[in-house]
Symmetry: D2
């Protein structure tokens, strides 16, 4: 059956999840709130709106990443198709980068299962965390949400996100477990493994009731904002041609 509860329209109205788009949403809700409505199915409470927007804002921009490179060189070849360049940039948001939001949300979800238990004691959290760490080590898989090539001690976005979560009452059991995983993983691996922004956002997605299977979507939404910014800059101060020349000349230089 073809059915959707998201949107419909008639000659004089557009309805989104039962709200009149023009009268009830436009002018009342910011874009982050609208994303919350689309995903969670209701408008956010004020505290939710602040934390949820901060999660999205955290992911918008991180300099010239591989995703940004893909978008910019695509615009070099097809400057007439902004949507194509943004799409190219989004296509790299897989398992290596923002897929870890989804990975950490799934990891935390699985740990609690169908239980509704509140935050456990420190010792219980550590035991849950140790089990998670041991499982990933046994599979030689990286723990999603830990580690960062630049923010080696602490990811400043994580610190801020958890402070906002605390201020608005969202530092619940998922945040506690994610913190415990980072703490115990550092012990197990014998090196600092900072909880990065995607891990923090995965935990907060769980706190806000955002399904793990679209947690990656938060990164997709946020990065689409950042990519439009980079494509505007590329149209004014292009870097694609220099990247191309560098790659070709390096490839030529390294020929046997």
């Amino acid at each position: 059956m073809i059915r959707s509860e998201l949107g419909r329209s008639d000659a004089d109205h557009v309805y989104v999840r039962g709200f009149d788009l023009a009268q009830d949403l436009m002018g009342h809700l910011d874009l982050g709130g609208m994303a919350f409505l689309e995903i969670v199915g209701r408008r956010p409470e004020p505290g939710e709106a602040i934390v949820f927007n901060a999660m999205l804002v955290a992911l918008v921009e991180h300099g010239i990443t591989p995703s940004v490179i893909a978008a910019r060189v695509t615009a070099y070849g097809a400057p007439e198709s902004l949507q194509g360049a943004v799409a190219a940039g989004l296509l790299g948001l897989g398992s290596t980068f923002v897929g870890t939001i989804e990975g950490s949300a799934h990891m935390l979800d699985a740990a609690y299962g169908t239980s509704n238990a509140p935050i456990a004691t420190e010792a219980e959290l550590d035991a849950m965390a140790d089990a998670i760490v041991a499982d990933f080590r046994a599979r030689r898989a990286p723990i999603p949400g830990l580690g960062h090539p630049i923010h080696r001690e602490a990811d400043p976005r994580t610190t801020r996100l958890f402070a906002l979560a605390q201020a608005h009452g969202f530092d619940g059991r998922y945040v506690a477990l994610m913190r415990a995983v980072a703490r115990r993983a550092a012990v197990a691996y014998g090196k600092p493994l900072p909880l990065n922004a995607t891990g923090a956002i995965g935990a907060l997605a769980c706190e806000l009731g955002i399904p793990a299977q679209v947690a990656r979507g938060l990164g997709v939404i946020a990065r689409s904002v950042g990519l439009v910014g980079h494509l505007l800059e590329e149209s004014r101060a292009p870097i694609s041609r220099d990247l191309w020349v560098y790659a070709e000349s390096e490839a030529e230089r390294s020929r046997p």
Copy 2:
């Protein structure tokens, strides 16, 4: 030269356009405000934030559009790649649909050229509009931002956007000219040609100083939000298989 003024980071900070992301932006700016910062280069004033967010909110959701169909059937084939399904949905945001935001912004920009003239008299606006309409008619090209298959009398999003623009002081010369174009086109073509949401947003992009070449990007950002919502719904109440079966059976039925 490879250079960017958007973002950079060191071990303890991420900077976006000179702001400390964690301290100055997260918790202070919503996602729409962050998009404004990326594109315009400064944080929005309160009135700008309301109008700009409303422009984005207006474009998030419009039911099961071709873009939504592309995203949903893509998820049917590759459910493991949310980013791929969103990208597929964005790729249709070309000349037929949201490209008209860019088209109307370019049209209005070109009409004023480098002049900084304030709003002209009604008669002068009509003369400018008549010249625009005549030009498009001569080229047999549709005027961007006019007409809608469902909202045949008036697009409710346009009405709301212009009310918000007026309330916050953004109903300037671009809005005035866009209105005049719709009015004069209706006369020239002898039928109602309502100013649709993309035309209104194109005019407001000009008012807010958003470059025409990224005006289409507003639609790309907003639709990425809506597509994530549809992909979550598709994972719970799929429509792709029914669409496929319908298409194949119709194709079989219509064979000569």
Copy 3:
């Protein structure tokens, strides 16, 4: 280090894997042979060229699939960007459809491991196949390469591919094991599970020495050919608008 052995060029030549593109390849190699050169690193022998081209030809066209729908509705929104419409169509070639080429190739590779054993006895093949079937059943995962919604008894492409493979000496141990898996799975599940084209192609990819991690790429290459065909037809006899109208009217009809 940035290095590539695929292509390079100077003022008067383009070289591909050491061959002079213009003199050695153009006019001598067909597109399938060129794909073989890119992937395997040498030009195909005559028999390899026939089997490899047949594998690609088998995947070009299968009517109005979800991938075709994605491409066509994308072209409706952005008719100016053929590459975007093809990209949208390719994005659905994930785990549900052609990803099964990769899945079956991995499955067969894993079964033989690093052994170079020739074809085993029927009994040994059945034992290997039973182990594979039991493993997928235990994980409640579908066996890649088996089953087809339309070709319920036998996939005609598989029959033809294996006949060509036999005629040219490529019906080795991977084909034998894949056949055994289909046979034993039918017994285990108590229903016919025909070996479909992607399973046959996964097995033949192993026979030809094509790495499993790009086996999915054969489908990507072949479908790009089919999608261009469908986009040309869409520009002449469009179906996108009818699909859109159907989806919207069905969604309206099924509202509670």
Copy 4:
């Protein structure tokens, strides 16, 4: 009406343009021939097959281009999604690069209009070419199919393509006019403007009866082959991380 003449299937057959895929096409047609069938609607004659395959083979590989960079950095972020990385690479095949195939085909088509005139005299060709060159100069638009950053004197692929075309009887009026355009443009601009591969292929597409609106599709098909080759190499000898590090360190170095 939803209707397609490309493909359909029943339990025992797949039909493509009326042919039985398994019996009539697989094993008889190479991938280039299958592309010809999809686009032109009939199987190619032997000479057509050679020229058409050469056109495709010419476009498969040209080293580490922007399109290849986009595909490779996308695979770095989403290694699990080969189809996404290929799609990212294809999205840059716009107006700057292979869009010129379409551009030159349109240019030549428009010059002859609906006339069926055979090849004109040298003087008539020069006059047609001069009109084309003057038109592009007046619009300050680059002439599609002319010029190459590396092959500054002559593109070796063009030389070979036209030799094959001559050998098989396809050096007709479109090839003649394209050559004349290159010759007259060099005079008008006072510098060598070699006829590049996309210009030659645009002319040959016209000779073979391939509609200009899908001429760009030939590049899309061919590049999908090359991209799969590069993605296999990237999985073995990655360059993406080095490109990222270079871009970020250059951006840091050039900060004011």
